[in-house]
Amino acid sequence: MSLSRTVRHAKAILTGFKYLFAGPRLTLMYPDDIQELPEGYRGMIEYDWDSCIKCSLCAMVCPADAMKMYVSKEESEREGKVVKRPGINYTRCIFCGFCVDICPTDSLRFTKVHDVAYYTYEEQIYPPAEFSKGVPRPLYLREPRKVRAVLDERRGIRYEPARS
């Protein structure tokens, strides 16, 4: 056993000890803590019924066939022609945000909601009427603490309670 190898063994073990007694921790304690996401996070999508001009660009650009144009029965009858509005299928959505970016009237918007669980497959499909009611609020067993990620020179990443 050469000397340099022994030194390397010692260095490895000492580094281990250093972290055993003084290391940082990077864990985000989800779901007790939930992270406040940055501006522009591509989460679930919000739909504004009134400003929509029914151009169907969102459905055309959707790469996953998640956004579809639904015939809006009531409006079609009222206006005497076929009126279609977008609805979304979250079992397919890949959160690329192309629909939001192409919407010419900003009727589709990003929200920061992403951690929603569903009981059934059907619940995840939102026809226009439901789509326009906004995104579901995630249910937590205990009210979580909002934290934000602080990038830190010494500890890498640190989660601090968010100022609300």
Binding site: A12, G16, Y19, G23, R25, L26, T27
Partner: protein, 334 residues
């Protein structure tokens, strides 16, 4: 009342309570949790936490044990059923058997023998046979390779480990563990013959498949080695066996090198036992800590460490002991 008294008779108390079954079980519960906690701390995370949160998830192992209990133990159709089911029991039993010959105080022991060191060392060599058998009886290629690896490891650590232990026996001129411990009232064995101490520590971790010698059950190569086909509580048994073996060897190591129950303030079996237990526990914990530092060696590298490094070192440590004796270092209580 008589039954309680009977319980404290050494020949019952030592195998069943301390340092035997109950203590081993307690240690098992704590050390598996601690191993995960230690690794987690080094790895910038928390480890098990949510089962009894105030104490950092200390009863996680109990929760795991319950899960093992209720999990269906699956016996592969192609396996040799008798051997498959019997080996874990023998493995666990034999891993823990040597404890009967370990004394816990100068006056408290199940039985005293002139050759108790040899008895303990001999009994510890029985368990690996069943690991090899386990690999064979599973009828799985990965299990087989794991069993063969265990076999190769056994022949490369056994002889140097014996020699290291014997070198201490030479130094103390005794094979009796009680006498060996008593001889270290002044200087501990680790100071007199540090080479043997380091060597034996290394071989102890090697014999119980601790990192960096976690070779027979190397996950990324052979799934879980001999244990691949085991599930449910019989898997729990085989997993516990290697910890129990490490615990027993740590007790012996403490007696050989770390003064046993010395320094002893009062000659009370409880105090002496606690002293011994703490030392053994720290050794097991050190083994757990090494998981966070080392990856694993390859089998051929481990074998060459056994024969090319540990074996010469053990011979040298025998020579050191002989020189010390001839130099007139008299420590033997007679």
């Amino acid at each position: 009342m008589d039954i309680l008294k009977l319980l404290f008779e050494p020949y019952i108390f030592i195998p069943l309570v301390f340092p035997g079954l109950v203590a081993a079980f307690l240690l098992l519960l704590i050390i598996i949790w601690l191993e995960r906690k230690i690794a987690a701390k080094v790895q910038l995370r928390y480890g098990p936490l949510y089962v009894f949160k105030p104490l950092g998830g200390v009863i996680q192992t109990i929760a795991d044990l319950l899960r093992y209990l209720f999990q269906e133990p699956i016996v592969p159709r192609e396996a040799d059923k008798l051997a498959f089911l019997m080996t874990p029991v023998f493995l666990f039993g034999l891993a823990y058997l040597p404890v009967v010959a370990v004394p816990i105080s100068p006056t408290y022991y199940a039985f005293r023998s002139d050759v108790s060191l040899l008895i303990v060392m001999a009994l510890t060599t029985l368990a690996p046979i069943f690991t090899v058998l386990m690999g064979w009886s599973s009828n799985n290629k990965f299990s087989l390779i794991g069993g063969v690896r265990e076999g190769y490891l056994v022949i490369s650590y056994e002889i140097p480990m014996f020699l290291s232990a014997i070198s201490m026996a030479i130094l103390y001129k005794s094979l009796d563990l009680v006498e060996i411990a008593e001889a270290q009232k002044g200087l501990w064995g680790v100071i007199l013959n540090p080479l043997a101490a380091i060597n034996m520590l290394l071989l102890m971790y090697m014999s119980t498949s601790k990192f960096p010698f976690e070779i027979p059950e190397a996950e990324s190569e052979i799934v879980a080695g001999p244990y691949t086909e085991y599930s449910g509580i019989i898997y729990g048994l085989v997993m516990g066996a290697s910890y129990v073996k490490l615990y027993v060897l740590s007790l012996v190591y403490s007696i050989l090198f770390l003064g046993g129950w010395n320094p002893l303030p009062i000659n009370d079996p409880m105090v002496a036992g606690a002293m011994l237990f703490v030392k053994a526990f720290l050794l097991v914990a050190l083994g757990a800590f090494l998981r966070a530092v080392y990856p694993r060696f390859r089998i051929d590298q481990a074998i060459s460490i056994g024969w090319k490094i540990a074996f010469p070192l053990s011979l040298i440590s025998v020579v050191i002991s002989l020189l010390l004796i001839m130099g007139g270092v008299s420590l033997v209580v007679k």
